[in-house]
Subunit: 357 residues, 2 copies
């Protein structure tokens, strides 16, 4: 098979060895002579998967037993509702920073649940930068931020020092770099960008942040119900969670966060250096807020886009078309993308310049 | 590999050819040289999967464009909340029939949303029968029933003629027999028992039943939002939906509902006949309400259970331990279970009788 350089923005690339293990588990899981797709989630073999998938998150985040890890169905979009449902007190206020489409959606759901205040936003410049220096209201129940904005290619290089519980949607850069997880009351991430396939969402929550809203709660929207059930209150997304575990094991085995942070820095440097050097391309965001996960760029000769498209397709590059809201190109450099793929893209950009500049 | 007879109650057995296709898609999907686990759900290749997965449900149920099909994350348990959230008017009433643990959970969630009336129940006899002859209130917003009760092994052989919209949890017997789907306003099913792997839930809903509650709705809990998004309002559980499509294609190719209904009848007859004939076993439910999907039985020599367990394990039988609420044995005869597996179990029951009766 020809090697494809997969820059998909999500669901995104997974390590080849993980895909191989996933493929095998579809036929014979854990030497049971049964497929992982047809065994009980209550079997000992699967309970072990769930236990490990939960504990490896705490290990990678270096947090203790004051945190709980859940894998839930429904996607990060369901968390946009579950976060305020579980943390926003009746008659309380939630504070949000708006850095893009996903943050806007999170704000919309919070407003349906209670008083929600947008304390900072970069909407004025089409979300091309990360707001800084805003004041965080001390009386709000929590502050919600989005660490990385897939569509616009911006990323928080530092997190706000928050006097109130800090909640972060890390869907598109989780486990890509070192963060002080203990500074957060809740971190969530749809798995399909940087930690596994589509179908499950990881939620890590500090236990003492819960149970304070005064709200009567629907079971499936109540983190405490899922905690009590060991993330198996109901049948979980069995296979997606298994593949997520495999992906996190791959990360740990290769050197963990310290290792991947270096690799991700190399990949981002290689691509941003080329964008800045190449006379036919330019980046779309404030330089200091550039995302190491999603690199957005445009060509200053839009009439040549078809020519550029031809070149990268010939080089077996896939998934670098920009989001419809931004246009141009977006190369997603998730953990599993090798440096070699970035080099292939850089070569194509150089060949394009040579031919058309 | 030794063939395992998989009687798991759910997640349950899937066809061998489906597992093989699923395994291949983990490595190379649709000749893209990419895994299905790492491609965008917005790719043409996957949009085709979603379109077919939705249309094949309408085809198998023989309904027209007045119905919509959705695949959602979160499990049937999330539907326990979404059904009343979308159908129970503010100040309206919902009617429920309680036939087991899952119906009880559905009722609990409905009560959190609005006035809910349990119009019939078999709780008085530990859910060993299906209530009949109850009156359905004409002024309720809908009637919710559970077609098959996995834990207790009961099944509705006929559905109530309802003057109000009929809603059915078909999680454990969907597509196992002919039903007049047009009699239902909404049918839902967690995929992992009879139509695919864990991780997605199918909802088929009549469009004109929606939008009447007067409730301000959270996006992810609003069927109309998901309908508008073509079941891709957010990233769907990509792989579970694909495997569900493969399973339904397998069903259709082999002769559809008419074919599987016959096969399921043969399997159920073979096992119930043996239970009734064998002096060491007896069924746990009212005969007229026996489930063709989940066959629950006990031995009248409980002191010999360990001996029986030894025999079926030697015969490579898996997953027939009864639910903790009922004890004894439960053999689940989902669509993908071959008649040959039932014969293997019957032989073991006969050998057990020969040895110990």
């Amino acid at each position: 098979m020809t090697k494809v350089h997969n820059f998909s923005a999500g669901p995104g690339i997974l390590p080849a060895e993980v895909l191989k293990q996933a493929s095998e588990a579809c036929i014979n899981f854990d030497n049971l002579n049964l497929s992982l797709l047809e065994i009980s989630h209550r079997s000992k073999n699967y309970e072990k998967v769930m236990d490990e998938a939960r504990s490896i998150v705490k290990e990678l985040f270096e947090v203790g037993d004051d945190y709980e890890v859940l894998y839930l169905g429904g996607g990060a979009s369901l968390q946009f509702a579950m976060v305020p449902y579980n943390l926003l007190r009746e008659n309380g206020t939630a504070a949000y920073v708006n850095t893009g489409v996903w943050a806007t959606k999170a704000i919309k759901e919070a407003k349906l649940i209670g008083t929600t205040s947008v304390i900072a936003s970069s909407e004025d410049k089409k979300f091309t930068y990360i707001p800084k220096g805003y004041e965080i209201p001390k009386d709000a129940d929590y502050l919600h931020i989005t660490s990385n904005n897939t569509i616009y290619g911006t990323q928080m290089q530092a997190f706000p020092k928050s006097p109130i519980p800090l909640v972060c949607d890390m869907s598109s850069d989780i486990f890509s770099r070192k963060v002080n997880a203990k500074d957060f009351a809740l971190i969530y991430a749809g798995a399909q960008k940087n930690m596994g396939p589509a179908g499950s969402t990881m939620v890590m929550v500090k236990k003492d942040a819960l149970g304070k809203t005064g709200r009567k709660m629907l079971s499936m929207l109540d983190y405490q119900v899922h905690i009590k059930g060991g993330s198996m209150y109901n049948t979980p997304p069995v296979f997606p969670i298994y593949v997520t575990l495999l992906t996190l094991q791959w990360l740990k085995k290769n050197g963990g966060i310290a290792w991947i942070e270096k690799v991700n820095q190399q990949k981002a440097d290689a691509l941003y250096n080329e964008i800045d050097r190449n006379s036919l391309f330019y980046g779309t965001t404030a330089k200091e807020d550039r995302s190491k996960m999603n690199v957005c760029f445009l060509t200053n000769k839009p009439e040549l886009e078809t020519e550029f498209d031809k070149l990268w397709k010939e080089a077996n590059i896939s998934g670098i078309r920009g989001h419809r809201d931004v246009g141009g190109y977006r190369a997603s450099l998730y953990n599993a993308l090798p440096l070699e793929s970035v080099k292939a893209l850089v070569e194509v950009m150089q060949a394009f310049e040579k031919k058309f500049a």
